[in-house]
């Protein structure tokens, strides 16, 4: 997952590497992902979100569709 100044440089990077353009996430969404994943990482209760929890987290941030489904086989 790379950081870009803008959508324009994302498109340039994808073209240069001949890879498909995939979803973009803004910094507010990215921060929420980080909090969901890591805020308790140094605690006894720490664990990685389960697949269904991941889907709920992504949906709460407007990240929907098979790309964000950890159980999707659409991209195989």
């Amino acid at each position: 997952m790379l950081l870009f100044r803008s959508e324009e440089t994302v498109n340039q990077w994808c073209a240069a590497h001949n890879v498909p353009r995939r979803p973009l996430v803004n910094l507010a969404q990215l921060w929420q992902l980080a909090v969901h994943w890591y805020a308790n990482r140094l605690t006894v209760e720490s664990r990685r979100p389960a697949p269904d929890e991941m889907v709920s987290i992504f949906q709460s941030l407007g990240l929907t569709g098979p790309f964000w489904d950890p159980k999707s086989d659409q991209w195989r």
Partner: protein, 187 residues
Amino acid sequence: MWLRSGCPLVASRDEHGRGQETRKSCAILQTAINCAPMPELDPDIQVKFAIYEITAETGSVPNSSQVARKINIEENEVLAAFRRLHAKRLLLPEPSDPHRIRMAPPFSGVPTKFPVEANGKHYYANCVWDAYGIAAALHCDVISRASDGYTGEPLTLEAKNGEPVLKSYVAHFGVPAAHWWDNLIFT
């Protein structure tokens, strides 16, 4: 709880629901690091805590011998725990050397394009998500002097008082969620 069972989490939020925890928690982390080990903890949890304790304290992700010394168990037991934690998708051993850890998310065991300064220490994050992840995990203000993935232009990420300093930058997720762990280094 913080790091070890028995260490109180004394951080609290201010009237706005933020801030106090952020300002206090780095001190809490240091306090927790100094707490006595809890032998009743599952070995995998002990190993995981030791990894994060050493990393938070030093800025460097430890190897298996450092973890073994930290919690006074045999290195082979640590290596077995590394394998189980990998199976649980909680860490990634270095592919060419199982004694070393490549990723203890959000921390990287090797230098990356996402250096993070937090609490006067220097860390490396695995990716842009994990740069914020270090702020979330340590509950500290952080600054990451990263760069544009295409142009190389310096781009700075910051989190202060438990909130990101928002800019118009974007993160590109190149791999679908179902395949993040197929090749985590590439992801």
